[in-house]
């Protein structure tokens, strides 16, 4: 698997303190969790014991514990405690791979390249920003940019500009969104959106309704693309 650069994973607001949530990038599973200090961690979503997903586990202070047999890992991914062997000095080799994380544009990003390699540059994003909404759709991530314009907002087609291969700027009437596209797995994508400035909650409702329609339109278009490719 080839990972390059920074990958958007979810809105900062969507992983609460002491919570864990799972995600996928190109089909590979990751866990995101936030410790009691508010730091976000992105790890491989796999407990070294028996392979249970860590995203099903629970956060206790600055440790995350596996749901299955309660093995506890510290912020460095190192297993510190095994309930079945409370007196054991846990071997240093029991460790979960973890990845660099940044929070920018109200979105959490991680970088999955080799641990010791230099961090790639990060795209400049509007700041401040205002986290808005994520949508998940059965649509290939590579097709999203071209399809967004087909879902009008207030009767007007959105203006879409690609800032990078995963970041789009979407200009809608009365609001500009930064949309970070996540290639979840084949045929399935997520798009994490934030406004480029503060927007009062109540004023976000029409955009939310638009985003829901966009998801429906993306899925319809993706089905049509599939059918026509099949026919061709």
């Amino acid at each position: 698997m080839n990972f390059e650069g920074w990958y958007p994973l979810l809105l900062v607001a969507d992983v609460g303190p002491k919570k864990a949530v799972g995600t996928r990038v190109q089909g590979k599973e990751f866990v995101l969790w936030r410790d009691s200090h508010g730091s976000t961690h992105v790890w491989e979503d796999r407990c070294p014991h028996r392979g249970m997903k860590m995203s099903l586990g629970f956060v206790r202070g600055d440790h995350i514990a596996c749901l299955y047999h309660g093995w506890e890992y510290d912020r460095g991914g190192q297993c510190q405690y095994i309930p079945a062997h409370p007196d054991l000095d846990v071997p240093q080799t029991i460790k979960i791979p973890r990845y660099p994380v940044i929070e920018a544009g109200s979105i959490v990003w991680a970088c999955f390249q080799e641990p010791d390699s230099e961090l790639p540059p990060f795209l400049e994003l509007p700041s401040p920003s205002c986290g808005f909404k994520s949508i998940f759709a059965d649509c290939p991530a590579s097709r999203v940019a071209e399809l967004i314009e087909k879902t009008p907002f207030n009767g007007v087609a959105p203006k879409v500009t690609a800032k990078s291969d995963r970041v789009l700027e979407i200009v809608l009437e009365g609001g500009t969104l930064t949309a970070a596209v996540q290639d979840v797995c084949e045929g399935h994508m997520a798009m994490h959106m934030s406004f480029d400035r503060f927007k009062a909650s109540a004023d976000q409702i029409p955009y939310s309704i638009w985003a829901d329609q966009l998801r429906r339109d993306l899925e319809t278009a993706a089905r049509d693309i599939k059918t026509s490719e099949f026919a061709a």
Binding site: L10, L11, D14, G16, K19, A20, V21, G22, T23, R24, S55, L56, F58, K133, S134, F136, A190, S201, A202, Q204, I205, S208, I209, D212
Partner: protein, 210 residues
């Protein structure tokens, strides 16, 4: 006031809804365990006499026998919630509560079927049920996102109602039929809020964290 009797099966999410509401209201009901698996006791003549489909929960209070979980939740709220918060009188909120109760019974029933198919070998097309459950969760997630923009944390408004109690377990248990919570941020937040209500109780598959 005499207390009601609940015919209960611990692994049934519809029974859990009633237990959760009873606990939230602080009511000790007499609970009669019905051995559904493996005993098939829900198909025994005494149960069928009260609930011809063999469906649980059943609530008995004096001469009143209620089946259908939404009706039981409504009756409990009306009977034991003096503040009328769980089943508000204001017509608009009541309308919204009833709308989500109907959604629970008519749309989210696929999630109950998906779980029964996955866990209890009930015959069914698990893939189709899972897809329909996913679509129902999306509707709830989109709605709760908008609720959040309105500054309201619950399905029918700014406070907890029986609608939240009716819809919560299917989402909380969705991993039983292989739907992760990852793609439903608003539902995750809502479920976390519900875990903090007075008298919250757990059931197998619904811990008090996460």
């Amino acid at each position: 006031m005499t207390t009601p009797t609940l015919y209960n099966y611990d692994l049934d999410e519809n029974c859990y809804k009633v237990r959760l509401l009873l606990s939230h209201l602080g009511i000790e009901a007499e609970t009669i365990a019905v051995d559904v698996m493996p005993g098939k006791e829900h198909l025994s003549p005494p149960i069928l006499a009260m609930s011809p489909k063999g469906a649980l929960p059943i609530l008995k209070h004096g001469n009143l026998v209620l089946t259908e979980v939404e009706a039981i939740l409504v009756w409990l709220a009306r009977t034991y919630d003096p503040d009328k918060k769980l089943l508000p009188e204001d017509p608009d909120t009541l309308g919204r509560v009833m709308m989500w109760l109907s959604f629970s019974a008519r749309t989210l029933d696929v999630a109950v079927a998906a779980r029964a198919t996955a866990l209890m070998d009930m015959p069914g097309d698990i893939e189709a049920l899972r897809r329909k459950s996913y679509d129902a969760f999306r509707i709830m997630d989109d709605h709760l996102t908008i609720q959040q923009f309105r500054g309201e944390a619950f399905l029918a408004g700014g406070t907890l109602t029986v609608a939240d109690i009716a819809l919560f377990p299917s989402f909380a248990l969705s991993r039983d039929f292989n739907i992760d919570h990852d793609e439903f941020p608003a539902l995750r937040r809502w479920a976390n809020t519900l875990r903090l209500i007075d008298g919250f109780i757990t059931m197998p598959g619904i811990p008090d964290y996460h």
